[in-house]
């Protein structure tokens, strides 16, 4: 490979102060087979156009900042290697199903609210007291929820889900998987409280099991599976409330 090879990036540009419609801007970037799409965007920002706006931090696939649409697919740009696209141009857009703040940055406030909605924390009846040592949890009990605790909140699944795009009330894959993660945690006693939220209207039932959330998930969380399990749990809870309206607690 010659040293002076380049690759073209077509970046989605939108500025809220001046633009009413987005546009695409092309940049030629030196091609390095070790580079990821994020490196190329950083190079553009550093040396060509400082106004290009994007989020990033860890560059190792765990902080969840740098999710974007790369040639139409939701990807962590720190894990999308140029060599997988070269020599063709790469089109980079902000994650779909979110409002765009500027360029490649989306508004994630709605996502943050949905995370909070599922009560993603341990709920217990007893008083918090550390003097008795750790709660016991066997490796088998840990395995029940571990997979669903691996979500990095990168929001790729929201961009892959057609329901998120069409149904505002739908809590979405990551938030539901997180709720399920706590429901399956042997230390938690808040299942009933959490299902209360998840059972309402389209919050969870909006999911039609397209399954793309699990396909695009970079951490193999399988939100689609989690949601189907949560639906089964929810149906049980619903039935319990139907037959025992007063003693519905789990």
């Amino acid at each position: 490979m010659p040293d002076n090879e380049t690759i073209t990036l077509e970046l989605f540009r939108y500025h809220p102060e001046t633009d009413s419609e987005p546009r695409f801007q092309s940049y030629d970037v030196p091609y390095d087979e070790d580079w990821v799409v994020l490196d190329a965007i950083n190079w553009i920002k550093d040396y060509v156009d400082g106004s290009v706006t994007h989020r990033w931090s860890c560059r190792m696939g765990v902080c969840g900042s740098c999710g974007m649409m790369v040639n139409g697919e939701p990807k962590l740009t720190c894990a999308a290697f140029l060599k997988n696209y070269y020599p063709f141009p790469i089109k980079v857009e902000p994650l779909v199903n979110f409002p765009v703040e500027r360029d490649l940055v989306v508004d994630m406030e709605g996502f943050m609210d949905k995370l909070q909605d599922v009560k993603p924390y341990i709920i217990r009846d007893d008083v918090n007291d550390t003097s008795g040592g750790e709660y016991r949890q066997s490796p088998a009990e840990l395995a029940q929820y571990k997979q669903y605790s691996m979500c990095i909140n990168c929001m790729l699944c929201y961009s892959a889900c057609p329901v998120v795009g069409h149904e505002d009330e739908f809590l979405g894959p990551a938030a539901l998987a997180l709720g399920h993660r706590y429901n399956k945690d042997s230390r938690d006693q808040g299942q009933s409280e959490r299902l209360e939220v998840m059972l309402s209207s389209e919050a969870m039932w909006g999911c039609t099991f397209v399954g793309e959330c699990s396909v695009v998930c970079p951490k193999h969380v399988d939100p689609a599976g989690a949601i189907q399990q949560a639906k089964a749990m929810g149906a049980q809870e619903y039935f319990k409330r139907f037959v025992m309206p007063k003693g519905a607690g789990v």
Binding site: H15, P16, E17, T18, D34, K45, D46, Y47, D49, G50, S51, T53, H54, R55, W56, S57, C58, R59, M60, G61, V62, C63, G64, S65, A79, E101, R102, D103, V105, M108, M112, L115, Q116, K119, P120, Y121, I122, N128, T130, G133, E134, Y135, R136, Q137, S138, P139, E141, L142, Y145, K146, S149, M150, C151, I152, N153, L178, Y182, D185, R187, D188
Partner: protein, 600 residues
């Protein structure tokens, strides 16, 4: 950036990583009537705590003891740690870790359901709690999710704090912060302030640190008159991936991984780190020996091995091999799956079948904002915790897996003390603080949106790159007077050139070029304190190795350096404060055969 808006709370926390969130919960839980603001330049779950892999240390098992944890920490620190602080830290650690367990952190478990522990470098007994090899990720998300339980924690996500606001009595009462989305400057006011903004690894070119670790909080405190303590002590982690600097956790050695040179020889045995045992020997890996020596020594061994011509040359510089193959696929997948994922993605090798190329990489700043053992700075009402702070428990070299625990112990402690201060000193004058925030807004606009910045000729990236090269060349694993002198000179030059930085972007909304410029300014401050502190310390201790002063000198330097910012931006004034020694007088720092035997 038209007007300044005012937002009043009781306690203001700057930074939403492990320490900041722990502090927020401490305050919210102990003071349900308090309003706690958490101001962070990123959404909390993006904070760099998320990348920590191996684990967090706390004594929990019967065969371990607090005494051992204290001694390992102090000797690991080459006796530069304050022993009263270390004692507090070690005593408090188990309770904090259990608390986090109660908050849902998915710690790896033993078959009986108790938490599992693994050995880390420099430890006599294994005491590192872990959640596979994504411990920091799980800790951060558990903390963040737990904060969602408290209605009195108000988040200012994607707000870039640029200045501390002090009242007429000199008490810290908040900060000015740019709301990234709109560019509005906000005066976030409270009765006390805690800085939890993390380290400054981005002063160096090759680092495990994320883009956000630019020492903003350190620089803010420094500018406000707090000393930066022990800034010459920079930790190089011995095992980063070449090219990217991605961390390969010490847990890979704690689980039994070995380091070999180009001849396949376990070279650490040649540098007083003990004799290797066969990888199939049940006593392997030996604690406080060989691959489980401390990070400073292992990184220094790499340089010696490289100078002897026994490392492996690659496109991305010299490397040695971290060999995990004998662990087998099952153990790798269960205990260190992220190592496999990272090595496959970013080094193109599968550690089940091939050794991982690694080299030392800047990982952690032992130094930081000078705080006492109550996490308080010399400015009343200003506290700091986490990597940005220097208590100091880490001294000249931090032990692996002490930093995550430090976030909890001192984050919680800073929260408690800051809340107490807020209760005792409730009244302040809003208008004076608002005026300062207005001045700060004007300064930012004047500095970056009008000439010479608007028409200047310097690019942020160019200055940053030259800073990186100079820090690596002059203030790396081994330094001497000449190398440090040239780095100090270079930093002075770069500070001057910074005045001519040109921005392409002069708009308000989400101006990340402006934040990059502000971050570079922080880095220049912090790097200056590092280079000058290193220059003045004419001894070798822990991670600070002077080729021209190769011995430790307890007579003159059993003391913390304190760098004070000068108004004109010239070289900081450096002072010294003796280390607090209680029960553990300085001794020889030995690993390998006589490891840990030198204790009283």
């Amino acid at each position: 950036m038209s007007h300044v808006t005012t937002h009043e709370h009781d306690v203001i926390i700057i930074g939403g990583g492990g320490a900041g969130l722990r502090a927020a919960i401490a305050i919210a839980e102990e003071n349900p009537d308090f309003s706690v603001a958490c101001v962070s330049k990123v959404y909390p779950m993006r904070s760099h705590t998320v990348t920590a892999e191996g684990g967090a240390a706390a004594v929990i098992k019967d065969h371990d003891s607090l005494e051992d944890h204290i001694y390992d920490t102090i000797s690991g620190a080459d006796w530069l740690a304050d022993q009263d602080a270390v004692e507090y830290f070690v005593n408090r650690a188990p309770r904090e870790m259990i608390q986090l367990e109660h908050w849902g952190c998915p710690w790896s478990r033993k078959p009986d359901g108790t938490v599992a522990v693994r050995p880390f470098g420099g430890m006599k007994i294994e005491r590192t709690w872990f959640a596979a090899d994504k411990t920091g990720f799980h800790m951060l998300h558990s903390l963040f999710q737990t904060t969602l339980k408290y209605g009195n924690i108000v988040r200012y996500d994607e707000h870039f704090a640029t200045k501390l606001l002090l009242d007429d009595e000199g008490r810290c009462r908040g900060c000015a912060a740019i709301e990234l989305r709109t560019g509005t400057v906000r005066a976030v006011l409270g009765k006390s302030v805690i800085i939890c903004t993390g380290g400054a690894g981005k002063a160096f070119p090759f680092t495990t640190n994320g883009a956000i670790k630019t020492g903003d909080g350190m620089a803010m405190a420094y500018q406000a008159g707090v000393a930066l303590k022990d800034m010459e002590f920079i930790q190089y982690h011995p095992t980063g991936l070449p090219g990217t600097g991605i961390l390969i956790t010490e847990a890979s050695r704690g689980e039994g991984g070995i380091l070999v040179n180009k001849d396949g020889h376990r070279y650490l045995q040649d540098y007083d780190l003990g004799q290797p045992l066969d990888v199939n020997d049940p006593r392997h890996p030996q604690k406080r020996a060989m691959e489980l020596g401390p990070r400073d020594k292992l990184s220094q061994c790499f340089i010696k091995e490289k100078n002897a011509g026994r490392t492996i040359r690659t496109r991305d510089g010299h490397v040695v091999h971290l060999d995990l193959r004998h662990l087998g696929e099952k153990k790798i997948d269960k205990r260190i799956p992220f190592v496999r994922e990272l090595a496959r993605s970013y080094a193109g090798i599968d550690p089940v079948h091939q050794p991982i190329p690694v080299r030392p990489v800047v990982h952690y700043v032992m130094g930081g904002i000078d705080v006492d053992s109550n996490s308080a700075t010399n400015i009343p009402g200003l506290y700091a915790a986490g990597e940005c702070a220097c208590v100091s428990i880490n001294g000249a070299n931090r032990l692996g897996s002490n930093s995550l625990t430090e976030l909890l112990v001192f984050g919680g402690q800073a929260g408690t003390h800051a809340a107490r201060f807020a209760m005792d000193h409730p009244d302040y004058d809003v208008s004076a603080l608002l005026a300062q925030a207005g001045d700060e807004r004007d300064r930012i606009r004047r500095t970056y949106f009008s000439s010479p910045h608007k028409s200047g000729s310097e690019r942020i990236a160019v200055i940053r790159k030259e800073l990186h090269e100079s820090m690596e060349d002059g203030a790396g694993i081994y330094r001497d007077a000449d190398s440090l002198e040239s780095t100090c000179t270079k930093i002075a030059e770069l500070r001057e050139r910074y005045a001519n930085v040109a921005l392409d972007d002069h708009t308000n909304s989400f101006n990340t070029e402006l934040t990059a410029a502000l971050e570079l300014s922080s880095l220049l401050d912090v790097a200056q304190s590092m280079a000058h502190s290193a220059m003045q310390r004419t001894e070798s201790r822990g991670s600070h190795q002077r080729l021209d002063h190769p011995e430790r000198n307890d007579d003159d330097f059993l003391a913390h350096s304190l760098a004070y910012h000068q108004e004109d931006g010239s070289a900081p004034r450096i002072e010294y404060r003796p280390v607090t020694i209680t029960k553990w007088p300085p001794g020889a720092r030995t690993y390998g055969a006589d490891s840990g035997l030198k204790r009283e």
